[in-house]
C-alpha cells in the first residue's frame, strides 16, 4: 500500500487546563473516503486545524502527504472549515478563482476552472452574482467549490452537509463521489450517519478528544452484536437453544403459542444464516426472517455512551 495521506501520532492539544485532544492517533489511507464522526465539542475542529498546521499540537506528530507540515504541501490540500464564509462583495466566480490562485493556480487556469465547476454543479447563471446576493445553500456550494477548485489530492470537508436542503445534499454527494473517482482522498465530518454510511469506505469516531474507533464501515458494524429479527409461532425457549443464538428478546406480536416477533442476538463467531438453517433443521416455522445489521447510528450512539460511561467511572 502506498503511504497514507494523513498520519496523526499521539496528538495532544491542551488549552490551559482544558484538554481538547487527548492522545489521538489515526491513519487515513490514500484513495479512501474517510468519515470523521465526532460529537460536538469533541475536538474535531482542533484536530483538523492541527492536521493542517493552523494550530501547533501540544505534543505528538502530524504527517500529511509525507511531510511534517501542511504548509509544505498546502497546494495539494483542499479544506472547507465548519464555519464557512465568503467575501460578500466578490462575485461567485471571482471567489472560487481567488482561492484557486492562493493554491498556486495561474489566473487563467483558476478562472477557467471556476467557471467550469459552477457550470457542472448547476450554478452557471450565478457565477457573476455577488456572494451577498446568493442564498445560504448556494453560498455553501460556492465554498465547497472554492475548496476543491485546484483539484487537490487530499480534501478535508468539515460538516459540508450542514445547512443544505436534500437536493443540494445530493449535489454535494455527487461532488464527493466525483472527487473520489478522480482519485482524491476525502475526509469529511458529519453528524448525519446516513451520509457517512452511503459515502464512506472508512470511518473514525472520536469523542472527548479520544479515538473510539478507526476502521472500515464493515468493521464498525461488528462492534455491535449482530441481530436477527424474526417472526415465528415457536416458543422463545426453543429459539434460545439453537446454535449461534446468544439471547432472545421478544419485541412484539401475539401471545405465546401464536406468531410473535423476536430479536435474536447472534453469538460471537456465529453467522446469521447459520441460525436460519438451524431453524429449518429444528422444524421451526418462520413467518419472517430479517438479517438486521446495526446501523452506523447505533454504533455511534453505543460507542459514545460507552466512552462517556467510562469517563464517569474513571
Amino acid at each position: 500500500m502506498s503511504e497514507p495521506v494523513l498520519r496523526l501520532e499521539h496528538l495532544h492539544k491542551r488549552y490551559g487546563d482544558f484538554i481538547a485532544v487527548h492522545d489521538l492517533s489515526l491513519t487515513v489511507p490514500r484513495g479512501s473516503v474517510y468519515g470523521f464522526l465526532v460529537p460536538n465539542g469533541a475536538g474535531k475542529s482542533t484536530t483538523i486545524r492541527m492536521a493542517l498546521s493552523i494550530y501547533e499540537p501540544t505534543a505528538g506528530k502530524v504527517e500529511i502527504l509525507g511531510r511534517s507540515s501542511a504548509l509544505e504541501v498546502r497546494n495539494r490540500i483542499g479544506y472547507l472549515p465548519e464555519e464557512k464564509g465568503l467575501y460578500k462583495k466578490m462575485r461567485a466566480v471571482e471567489v472560487i478563482a481567488y482561492f484557486g490562485m492562493l493554491k498556486g493556480m495561474s489566473r487563467a487556469d483558476a478562472n477557467r476552472k471556476a467557471a467550469e465547476l459552477l457550470e457542472r454543479y448547476g450554478l452557471a447563471e450565478k457565477s457573476k452574482v455577488r456572494c451577498e446576493a446568493l442564498s445560504k445553500g448556494m453560498q455553501q456550494k460556492v465554498q465547497v467549490l472554492a475548496s476543491i477548485v485546484h483539484a487537490p489530492e487530499f480534501v478535508i470537508l468539515d460538516e459540508p452537509f450542514s445547512g443544505l436542503d436534500p437536493v443540494n445534499q445530493e449535489v454535494l454527494e455527487q461532488v464527493i463521489a466525483d472527487l473520489a473517482k478522480a482519485g482524491a482522498t476525502i475526509v469529511f465530518s458529519t453528524h448525519v450517519m446516513e451520509h457517512a454510511e452511503r459515502l464512506c469506505d472508512r470511518i473514525v469516531l472520536i469523542a472527548r478528544g479520544r479515538r473510539l474507533f478507526d476502521g472500515t464501515l464493515a468493521e464498525s458494524k461488528r462492534i455491535l452484536p449482530r441481530r436477527v429479527l424474526l417472526e415465528t409461532g415457536a416458543a422463545p425457549e426453543q429459539l434460545a437453544r439453537l446454535p449461534g443464538v446468544a439471547r432472545v428478546e421478544r419485541t412484539g406480536g401475539e401471545s405465546p403459542g401464536q406468531s410473535a416477533r423476536y430479536e435474536v442476538l447472534v453469538s460471537e463467531g456465529a453467522r446469521a444464516d447459520e441460525i436460519l438453517s438451524a431453524c429449518f433443521r429444528s422444524g421451526i416455522e418462520l413467518h419472517s426472517f430479517d438479517k438486521n445489521d446495526p446501523s452506523l447510528r447505533d454504533v455511534f450512539l453505543k460507542l459514545v455512551s460507552r466512552a462517556e460511561a467510562e469517563e464517569v467511572v474513571a
Binding site: 479544506y79 467575501y87 482561492f99 492562493l102
Partner: protein
C-alpha cells in the same frame, strides 16, 4: 511572497471597487476648487444689498456718509476692473466688463413712518430693523439693515452717532460710517488749527520696516519673502493630509480584517497562506489604496492650483511651487509609509483579536485619542518648529511622522531628522513584529476580545 501579493491585490481591488472610495477621491478636488471659488462668488452674488436709513436733523451730515460709501464702491470696483483686465489679457474678444454690485444703499424715510418726535420715528422703525416687517424698495420687499441717527450738530458727532442694527457680524457699513466721521472731524480740526493735511499724513505714514533676514540662507538670498511665510505654514496642510490618509486606510484595514474574521473566511485563508503572508498582504494591499488615494489628491490639488494660479492668485502659485519641490514632498512620502505601517499594524493586531467592529472600536478609542496630540499641537509647532515641545514629541515614535512633517519647514537639525527616522523605523519593525504575533494567535480567536494582559500573553505564546 506570491501569496502575500495575491492577498494584497484582492485587498486593493476590494477597496477601490467601492463607490465610497471614488466619491471620496472625486469630492476632494471639487471641495478644494470650491474653497477657492465660493468666497469670491458669494461676495459677488450672494451678499445682499444692505439698505439703511439715515435720520439727519442737521441736514448736512448725511452727505458725509454718502460720499464715503461712493468712495468705497469706486475703490472696490477699481480692484475688480484690474483683476478683470488681468484675466482677459491678450484675449482678442473679451466680454464686456460688468461693474460690481453696490453693497450699501441709503433709502429715504417714508413720510408715514416719520413720527412727531425722534423717539417715535425710532419706535416706528423697530419692527423693520428686527426683520418683522419688510421694507419696500422700488416696489420690492427688502430687509432694512440699519438705522443711523445723527446728532443735530457736528460738534456732537464724537459721541452722538447711533447705529441701530441687529447684525453684529457684518461690520462693513458701521466701519465705513465710523471712519467717515472720524476723517470728517479730523480734517475740520486740521483746518481750524491751520495744519497742512498732506504734510501731516506724510508724517503719520512714516514707519520703520524691519528687513527680515534668514541666517540659514546663502548670502544674498536672506530676504524673507511671502513665499517663505507660506512655506512655513504649508506643513500644516501636509500633516493634515497625512492624518486623514493614515486614518482612512488604517480603518479600511481594520474593517476588512474584522470582515474576514466574522465571516470565518480567515480559516480557509490560513489553510492556503501563513498568518504572516496574510498580514503582509493586507498591509501592502491597503497601502496601495492609500498611495492611490494620496496620488489622486496631490494630482487634483495641483490641477486646481495651476488653474487658479493663472488667475491672478499669487498664493496658488506659491503653493504649487511647494508641492513640486522635494523639500516637503519627499519627507511626506516617507512619513506616510512609516506612519501607515505603524498605525495599521497596530490596528491589524487589535482587529485580529476582535470578532466584531464594536469590540475593535473599544480598542480604537485610546489609539485615536493619542492621535489627537499631533493635531492639537500642529499650530504651536509651526510657530516654534525647533522648540522643546516639538523636539520632545519628535522622539515619540507614534508622533514622529506627524511632528517631523510639521517641523519640516523649520529646517530641523539633521541629527534629529536622522535620529528620529532611525527610531521610527525600528519602532515600525517592532510594531509589525509585535502585531504579527498577536495576529497569528488572535486571528482564529472567537468570542470576547482579550484584555490587555491577555494580549501580551498572545504575543508570548506565538
Amino acid at each position: 511572497m506570491r501569496y502575500a501579493f495575491l492577498v494584497a491585490l484582492r485587498e486593493f481591488a476590494e477597496h477601490t471597487k467601492t463607490k465610497g472610495f471614488w466619491i471620496g477621491i472625486l469630492l476632494f478636488p471639487v471641495l478644494l476648487a470650491a474653497g477657492f471659488q465660493v468666497p469670491r462668488l458669494l461676495e459677488k452674488y450672494a451678499k445682499p444689498t444692505r439698505n439703511f436709513v439715515v435720520i439727519d436733523p442737521s441736514g448736512s451730515l448725511a452727505g458725509v456718509i454718502d460720499a464715503a460709501i461712493e468712495t468705497d464702491y469706486q475703490k472696490k470696483n477699481g480692484v475688480a476692473l484690474l483683476q478683470w483686465t488681468e484675466q482677459h489679457k491678450g484675449e482678442a474678444e473679451s466680454p464686456a466688463y460688468e461693474p460690481i454690485k453696490r453693497l450699501y444703499r441709503r433709502v429715504e424715510l417714508p413720510a408715514d413712518l416719520a413720527g412727531t418726535s425722534l423717539e417715535e420715528t425710532k419706535a416706528n422703525l423697530r419692527p423693520f430693523l428686527k426683520g418683522e416687517r419688510d421694507w419696500e424698495v422700488d416696489g420690492q420687499p427688502e430687509e432694512l439693515f440699519a438705522l443711523i441717527v445723527l446728532p443735530d450738530h457736528e460738534n456732537k458727532l464724537k459721541k452722538g452717532v447711533e447705529f441701530w442694527c441687529t447684525n453684529l457680524a457684518d461690520t462693513g457699513l458701521s466701519d465705513i460710517v465710523e471712519s467717515a466721521f472720524t476723517e470728517h472731524l479730523k480734517s475740520r480740526e486740521y483746518e481750524s488749527k491751520g495744519i497742512d493735511r498732506k504734510e501731516l499724513e506724510r508724517i503719520v505714514r512714516i514707519q520703520v520696516e524691519l528687513e527680515r533676514l534668514d541666517p540659514k540662507k546663502a548670502p544674498g538670498e536672506e530676504e524673507v519673502s511671502q513665499a517663505e511665510k507660506i512655506r512655513q505654514w504649508a506643513p500644516i496642510g501636509f500633516v493634515y493630509m497625512l492624518f486623514v490618509a493614515i486614518m482612512t486606510v488604517a480603518q479600511m484595514l481594520l474593517g476588512s480584517t474584522i470582515e474576514e474574521k466574522s465571516n470565518r473566511i480567515v480559516e480557509v485563508l490560513l489553510s492556503s497562506v501563513t498568518p504572516w503572508e496574510l498580514m503582509l498582504g493586507k498591509l501592502l494591499g491597503v497601502a496601495f489604496v492609500g498611495v492611490a488615494m494620496l496620488l489622486a489628491w496631490l494630482v487634483s490639488i495641483m490641477a486646481v492650483l495651476s488653474y487658479f494660479s493663472g488667475a491672478g492668485q499669487e498664493t496658488a502659485g506659491i503653493l504649487m511651487g511647494l508641492l513640486v519641490a522635494p523639500g516637503l514632498i519627499v519627507p511626506f512620502a516617507a512619513y506616510f509609509v512609516l506612519g501607515y505601517l505603524m498605525y495599521s499594524s497596530i490596528l491589524l493586531g487589535i482587529g485580529s483579536t476582535c470578532t466584531t467592529l464594536k469590540d475593535a472600536q473599544n480598542f480604537m478609542g485610546p489609539v485615536m485619542t493619542l492621535l489627537m496630540v499631533p493635531l492639537f499641537t500642529m499650530f504651536f509647532i509651526v510657530q516654534d518648529p525647533n522648540g522643546t515641545l516639538a523636539t520632545v514629541l519628535s522622539w515619540i515614535p507614534i508622533f514622529t511622522p506627524f511632528v517631523m512633517m510639521n517641523r519640516m519647514a523649520g529646517d530641523p537639525p539633521t541629527a534629529q531628522i536622522a535620529g528620529t527616522f532611525v527610531v521610527l523605523t525600528i519602532s515600525v519593525a517592532f510594531s509589525i513584529w509585535f502585531s504579527g504575533r498577536i495576529f497569528q494567535n488572535g486571528i482564529l480567536r472567537t468570542g470576547q476580545p482579550p484584555k490587555f494582559l491577555e494580549l501580551l500573553k498572545l504575543v508570548r505564546k506565538a
